[in-house]
C-alpha cells in the first residue's frame, strides 16, 4: 500500500516535469544579456506571428543536452551552442537535420551553415584593454604575449574552444592562412611563456569584471563585451588586428517533440530583421547578409562583419573533428 503510494507520488512528479507539448516550445541559451536580447529580438516577434509560446531555459550545458538525447526525454527544442560543438554533435548524430524548405539559407553567411546547424550570431575574439589602467595598450596578438613590453596580467578564455590556441600561434608568427591543422605543441610552448601571467575568464561577465577592475587590464575577449564595457564609461581600447571569428549556432536536439515549431523558430531567428535587432542589442554580428542594411551605419560599423581586413576565421570543421583531443590536452596543460 505504502509502496504504491510512493510510486504514485514519483509518477506524479515525473508527469509534472514532462516535456512541453504543442503550441509551446523551449529555447535554451547562455543566460545574461545575450539571452535577454534573443528573447526580445526573436521570441517575442515569433510568438506574435505564430501564437507559439517560447519558454526560455538555460544555461546551455552540453552534458545535459547529451543526457536528454540519450534518454529520449528532450526538453529543449532549439539550443544556442558554440559552433565547434554544433559541428561535432551533428557528426555524432545528436541533432535533427535542419529543414531548409522552412529555413531560407540563401541569405545566410555560408561560413556558419551546416546540415545540422545555422549561425545564431557571430563574434570575434579581440584584444581588449582598459586604457585608464595602463600606459599603452597591446595592439596585436604578439603584443599580448609580450610580457616585457606589456607587463601585468592578461586574461584569456578558460574553456577549450576556438580562439586562444589560434591567438598563440598568430603571436608566434604563424601566417593566418597556415593555421590549420593547429600545431598544438608550438601553441602550448608559446602559451607557456606567459602562463603565470594569465588569469582565465570562464564567462563574459567575468571578462568584463577583470578588465574593468584592472585585475587583468588587457586580454582576449568577445567583442560584444567591449561594447558593453565602453557603455559603462570606462575608457577602453579594442584592437581588431587579426580578430578571430567564431559563431554560436542554433541546433535542434535529436528527438525534440516540437521539431516543426523549432524549424519555424530558427527560420524567423535567422531572418534579416530579427538578426539586425539582436546585433543592435549585443554588439555581435548578424549572420544574415541583409541585416546590415537595416541598421544605422554607426552601429553597423562596430560589428565584426565590418572588421574583415585582417580577420581570421576559426575552422569549425577542424575543431569538430579534434574537439575532444584538443580539450584533453588543453585542460591537462592548464592544470599543470
Amino acid at each position: 500500500m505504502k509502496t504504491t503510494f510512493a510510486f504514485a507520488a514519483v509518477a506524479a512528479f515525473v508527469a509534472v516535469s514532462a516535456p512541453a507539448k504543442a503550441d509551446n516550445m523551449v529555447f535554451s541559451s547562455w543566460g545574461g544579456t545575450t539571452q535577454d536580447a534573443q528573447k526580445a529580438a526573436w521570441a517575442s516577434p515569433f510568438t506574435e506571428k505564430t501564437g507559439i509560446t517560447v519558454v526560455q531555459d538555460g544555461p546551455t550545458d552540453y552534458g545535459k543536452l547529451k543526457a536528454m538525447v540519450e534518454a529520449g526525454e528532450v526538453t529543449w527544442d532549439v539550443v544556442d551552442v558554440e559552433g565547434d560543438y554544433a559541428a561535432q554533435a551533428g557528426k555524432n548524430g545528436q541533432l535533427e537535420k535542419l529543414d531548409f524548405s522552412v529555413i531560407d539559407k540563401s541569405k545566410l553567411d555560408p561560413r556558419f551553415v551546416t546540415d545540422y546547424s545555422v549561425g545564431s550570431f557571430y563574434y570575434s575574439f579581440v584584444i581588449g584593454c582598459n586604457a585608464d589602467a595602463v600606459k599603452a595598450c597591446p595592439k596585436t596578438w604578439a603584443d599580448l604575449f609580450d610580457t616585457a613590453k606589456f607587463p601585468g596580467k592578461r586574461t584569456f578564455y578558460k574553456w577549450s574552444a576556438p580562439g586562444v590556441i589560434e591567438a598563440a600561434l598568430l603571436a608566434d608568427g604563424v601566417a593566418a592562412d597556415k593555421l590549420y591543422p593547429l600545431d598544438l605543441d608550438r601553441a602550448f610552448k608559446k602559451l607557456d611563456t606567459i602562463k603565470s601571467d594569465i588569469i582565465w575568464w570562464s564567462g563574459g561577465a567575468q571578462s568584463q569584471q577583470l578588465l574593468a577592475s584592472a585585475e587583468a587590464p588587457f586580454g582576449s575577449v568577445w567583442n560584444g563585451r567591449m561594447t558593453a564595457l565602453a557603455a559603462t564609461g570606462i575608457k577602453v581600447e579594442t584592437s581588431w588586428e587579426q580578430n578571430i571569428t567564431a559563431a554560436d549556432a542554433l541546433v535542434v536536439p535529436k528527438g525534440s517533440p516540437n521539431v516543426e515549431s523549432a524549424m519555424k523558430f530558427i527560420a524567423l531567428a535567422t531572418s534579416a530583421e530579427p538578426q539586425a535587432a539582436l546585433a543592435k542589442a549585443t554588439g555581435y554580428a548578424p549572420i544574415n547578409v541583409d541585416s546590415a542594411k537595416l541598421m544605422d551605419p554607426e552601429t553597423a560599423k562596430t560589428l565584426p562583419d565590418q572588421q574583415t581586413a585582417s580577420q581570421v576565421n576559426a575552422d569549425m570543421s577542424y575543431w569538430a573533428d579534434n574537439r575532444d583531443a584538443i580539450g584533453e590536452k588543453w585542460y591537462a596543460w592548464q592544470a599543470k
Binding site: A6, D61, Y62, G63, W200, E215, G327, Y331, Q334, A335
Partner: protein, 290 residues
C-alpha cells in the same frame, strides 16, 4: 479501544491506528532515495567502465596522468588547509559563544546564519571584489604604507583558501558549539584546583572533551571541501584546480561521461573511506566514554 458515537447514538469503533513495524515504514523513503539518488549515481559509475570502450581505461588514464594526480593532490591539500584553518579560527569562536551571555550569543549566531543563508555566488563574488588588485584590502594596505605593490590575493591558492574557509566556518562552529556547551565547567575548575595551568586545562581537559565535535566538524568541512566547485573556480587559478572542476570539464565541456564518472567514483570512494575512519575512531559521540 476508543469509540465514536454519532448523533443517532450508534456507536462505531474507531479504526485502529497501527504503528508501522519493521521495514514497511521506511519503504517510501528507501524508494525515493533509490530512484532519485542511488540509481543516477550507479548509472554514472557504470558509464565510467563502459564508455567509450568497456574496461578500466578511464581509471588507468586518471591514475596514469601526472596532471590528474596533481589535481587529486591539490584537492586534498586545499581541503586540508581549509579544514585546519577553520578549526583554528572556529574553536575560539565556538568557545566564546558557549561562555558568552545569552543575548550576545544570539547576535553572533544571527550573523553566522545570515552569512550562511546568503547566496554562495554572491559571497564568492564579494571576496573577489575585496581581494583583487584594486580591491579594498590591497587599497587599505597600500594606504597604510605597508606594501607598495598590490598583493596577489585572488586567482591563486590564497584566494581559494580564504574564500572556502569563510564559507566553511559556520559548519565547524555549530557542531563545536554544541559539544563545548555540554562540557561541565566544573571539570575545568577541578583541573585548575589540581594544579593545571591554563595551557594544560586546554590541552588535557577541554580539547579531549571537545574532540568528538571537532572530529565531526572537521570531517564535514573536509568532505564538503573535496567536492567544492563554485568558489575554487572563481577565486582560484587553473594551476590549483580541484577535482569537482575537473569533473565539470569532463561532463559539460568535453561531454566525456566515462572520465567524469571515473573521477566522481574516486571522489566518492575517498569520501566514504574518510567517513568510515571517522566512525571507527570517533563513532562514540559520548564525551568521556573512552
Amino acid at each position: 479501544m476508543s469509540t465514536f458515537s454519532d448523533a443517532s447514538g450508534v456507536v462505531t469503533p474507531l479504526p485502529k491506528i497501527r504503528r508501522p513495524t519493521g521495514f514497511s515504514g521506511v519503504v517510501p523513503a528507501f524508494a525515493f532515495v533509490g530512484i532519485f539518488f542511488v540509481a543516477p549515481v550507479a548509472i554514472l559509475l557504470l558509464r565510467s567502465v563502459l564508455e567509450p570502450v568497456p574496461g578500466l581505461g578511464n581509471y588507468a588514464q586518471l591514475i596514469g596522468s601526472s596532471t590528474y594526480l596533481k589535481i587529486f593532490a591539490n584537492t586534498f591539500i586545499v581541503s586540508g588547509l581549509v579544514t585546519v584553518i577553520s578549526l583554528v579560527i572556529g574553536f575560539p569562536v565556538a568557545w566564546a559563544l558557549a561562555i558568552m551571555p545569552g543575548r550576545l550569543t544570539s547576535v553572533i549566531f544571527a550573523i553566522l546564519l545570515l552569512s550562511m543563508w546568503t547566496n554562495l555566488l554572491a559571497r564568492t563574488y564579494a571576496w573577489m571584489v575585496l581581494l583583487q588588485r584594486t580591491g579594498l584590502i590591497n587599497k587599505m594596505l597600500m594606504g597604510m604604507g605597508l606594501i607598495d605593490q598590490p598583493l596577489a590575493l585572488v586567482n591563486n591558492l590564497t584566494g581559494v583558501t580564504i574564500g572556502m574557509t569563510y564559507i566553511m566556518l559556520p559548519f565547524i562552529i555549530l557542531p563545536l558549539y554544541g559539544v563545548i556547551k555540554k562540557i561541565d565547567p566544573s571539570t575545568l575548575q577541578a583541573a585548575a584546583l589540581c594544579g593545571a595551568n591554563r595551557w594544560q586545562c586546554l590541552t588535557r581537559v577541554l580539547l579531549p572533551l571537545a574532540m568528538p565535535g571537532m572530529a565531526a566538524g572537521a570531517l564535514m568541512v573536509f568532505v564538503m571541501s573535496l567536492g567544492y566547485f563554485v568558489t575554487p573556480s572563481l577565486l582560484g587559478g587553473t594551476a590549483n584546480m580541484m577535482l569537482a572542476e575537473l569533473i565539470a570539464q569532463f561532463v559539460q565541456s568535453l561531454v566525456n561521461w566515462g572520465m567524469g564518472g571515473a573521477a566522481a567514483l574516486v571522489l566518492l570512494v575517498v569520501t566514504l573511506s574518510l567517513y568510515a575512519v571517522q566512525l571507527r575512531f570517533f563513532g562514540n559521540q559520548n564525551p568521556g566514554g573512552r
